[in-house]
Symmetry: C2
Subunit: 207 residues, 2 copies
DNA sequence: ACCCAGTCTACGACCGGTCGTCTAGTCTTA
DNA sequence: TAAGACTAGACGACCGGTCGTAGACTGGGT
């Protein structure tokens, strides 16, 4: 009896879980409705189309993650690099939890959908770009803070932040492929390395 | 006719192109056959199933890429780190070429299929694991060589190689999502950073 | 207190089309 | 003509999506 029908929310919840578990294209509207315990006929009352559902799931998931990230990354009581480390630890913990819940490391929904849908529907691609832009911006702010405190030698903070997020996506992809969270521990040392000063051109790096 | 029918090869080529362009799940057997100019009825003469086609495409694509990588990475005439740099340059060039051919950065087929299929069919997941294992091994050999020459400070060469490949996958994912190869240039400096010595535990943090 | 249009929510039945797959058969070559 | 190489066409299942309407609720008229 919620003000917005709870059937809609049940569809949303089921869709989010199933998309993380099995992807989008391989998923049918009927299957989503069955999992949600909602008649299929109701689906198109609550959602305009399957794609519109994907967009809504994306938005809801990002809203939740953004809240969590904001809490982690803007906590001025802890040094900026420690905040980043906590972000990685939380990511690892989340993947581990997902694995124990449903037997499978589900990876990052945004990365998953990027590779699966971005060249099928322009709307989803645009939304995913906005999400990753926002993620990078959030990391960038922390990196800039660290640099100002002399804790990171990097000069181009935006590109550095992008690389950190890219590293995270790549490692999570591996975690999903190998169904193992074991190696996500390298996230933090790698982040540290990416945030160190860069040699201007060419050769080796000393300690 | 040819001992291996050329129809089979035409299906393979069309499938490879279409999978890079539109993914696997969203692709129908009929569409592949039409693009290949092969009657749909012939498909199941040449391939056991759609999944078996995917496996074959994967193998063929990897065989080609492995050859190219081997040529690049085992060229003892050039220093190891330069070989790695050339690998990134070639990757960037390949993505750019793909973009100009079909208007879209197609990304890495292995990464794409990892996120799209790895939790649908175990056979594909296993094959993808083998491919990435091999990629990491190839990079690892070069990293070990660089370290022996004192050009890389990293101690765990396997994990370092894995991180380099992860970074590559992450950046290529972004290139695909934003349909832009412009930022793949950060691949090489990031690789350098990942190959530098790691502090054992949170050194950069002085708070 | 009762009723009855009118309105909105919610849904089962169904649509045309496409999916992956298969079989029955036609070609080609020797 | 025997034997393989190849293919047309159709199969049942299922896809995303539509639609007519049942049921719950509303607010005036009586």
């Amino acid at each position: 009896m919620g003000r917005t029908s709870d059937a809609r929310q049940k569809i949303l919840d089921a869709a989010q879980a199933l998309i993380e578990l099995r992807g989008y294209s391989a998923l049918g509207v009927a299957e989503i409705c069955k999992a949600a315990g909602v008649p299929k006929g109701s689906f198109y009352y609550f959602f305009e189309s399957k794609e519109s559902l994907a967009l809504t799931v994306l938005d809801e998931h990002w809203a939740a993650q953004r809240t969590a990230w904001t809490g982690l990354l803007t906590d001025t009581a802890t040094p900026p690099l420690h905040r980043l480390r906590r972000l990685f630890e939380e990511t690892e913990a989340a993947q581990l939890a997902g694995q124990q819940d449903c037997g499978t490391v589900s990876g990052c929904m945004f990365g998953n959908l990027s590779l699966e849908m971005s060249n099928q529907t322009e709307a989803v691609r645009t939304r995913l770009q906005e999400i990753f832009d926002a993620q990078v911006d959030m990391v960038e702010a922390v990196v800039a803070e660290a640099r100002d405190r002399g804790e990171a030698g990097v000069t181009d903070v935006h590109e550095a932040a992008r690389s950190v997020v890219a590293q995270l996506e790549g490692q999570v992809l591996f975690a999903k492929l190998y169904n193992s969270t074991g190696r996500l521990g390298s996230l933090w040392p790698n982040c540290l390395a990416l945030l160190a000063a860069r040699a201007p051109e060419g050769t080796a790096v000393r300690a």
